[in-house]
Symmetry: C2
Subunit: 220 residues, 2 copies
């Protein structure tokens, strides 16, 4: 039973994210060359290999199967994304207007994306339906804007760790879909710290050789 | 395909352990009243509720089902256990001979148990087939003694975190069976740190509403 039937007319706030067995969503020493930190790409090999992910990124081929279905399901009902400044990239401080994100002209979101930042910037319209809107007044304001943009579809928190933590700690997340990847990163950005004391109910588990997907409903 | 068919005649070294969603196997502030730390009992509610666990502890009743089958499987082939001093309890330093462990006259192991310690002590014979042997010369010596006691059965690392870490870091663990419980402890004893860089292959996943069980083979 999904939460949407409980909170009538309200879209869900979801997050699906790859996490190492020791709890990191990015490795240590993030940089332009290693945006996910050292070893962080190992968290995403399962996604790179699958067909749905490749289609979203304009690539052919890839594996069908449980991992691909999980990605399909995770992106299907999303009407808007929210991400942190660090995930959008371009460094700290005032914006370099030439920085348009990591993803090129046609980012893989294909819906409005709201970027949390302390520095105002005009919205960016990208190819393929993606837009980036920069929100300077916090997570609740970003959520209001994302809800308005998403209509009756879900709002997905894209990352990184700090942004997911803020939504969990504020009691604003309805669903957390973890892709648990059996690698040890040893250091980096830990997902589940500073999140208060949420309770979770397991909604579903999908297993593949590469990754164990566990969808939790956040109980408040 | 289990490792035992690969390394002919060699028993496996396994570990099955309950871990919070944020990676802890015990909560903060462990004490005589809270041997698993504050909140740590929440990791084991799923086990207390099931029939196999209750039988091992001399109790009637409990739920059958996937969680019970997991415990059944986890204890079935175990010929000896190894645990850390802290898990056996009784405080630090030289032994108080009146301390016979947390579990009473008939502990739930029912096979020889080898306790890692810096303080020599004569073995203890308990009811129900459990014995406690105190090993002062490290994990490899404990493993040798446990192998001799286990015959062709497996050796299970019972915990706690520091002991599992030593076996993982030394490349001595063949199988890690995590019971991932959807609670946040926020602090306590973290399982997967200081373990080096092992690789894991997913062997099986068993899902229940209360816990997601994932069995990994450690690849070396």
């Amino acid at each position: 039973m999904s939460r949407r039937t409980v909170v009538s007319g309200m879209n869900s706030v979801t997050c699906q994210i790859s996490v190492s067995l020791d709890g990191f969503v990015a490795g240590p020493n993030q940089s332009l060359e290693h945006p996910l930190g050292e070893g962080g790409m190992r968290l995403h090999q399962w996604a790179f290999a699958n067909a749905t992910f490749r289609r979203a990124h304009g690539l052919d081929g890839g594996d069908e199967g449980p991992d691909s279905e999980v990605v399909e399901e995770a992106v299907a009902g999303v009407g808007a994304y929210i991400m942190g400044r660090k995930m959008f990239g371009g460094g700290d401080g005032p914006w370099d207007p030439s920085w348009m994100g990591w993803w090129g002209d046609n980012p893989p979101f294909h819906v409005p994306v709201f970027v949390l930042t302390h520095h105002a910037r005009d919205p960016l319209g990208m190819d393929g339906g993606t837009s980036f809107t920069f929100v300077t007044d916090g997570v609740e304001a970003a959520l209001d804007e994302a809800r308005a943009a998403a209509g009756d579809q879900d709002i997905a928190i894209a990352g990184g760790a700090a942004t997911v933590q803020q939504f969990l700690a504020a009691g604003l997340l309805d669903e957390l879909y973890l892709h648990i990847v059996p690698v040890i990163l040893g250091a980096g950005e830990r997902l589940l710290e500073n999140v208060g004391n949420p309770s979770f109910e397991t909604v579903k588990v999908v297993a593949s050789p590469a990754v164990t997907h566990v969808k939790y409903r956040v109980v408040r």
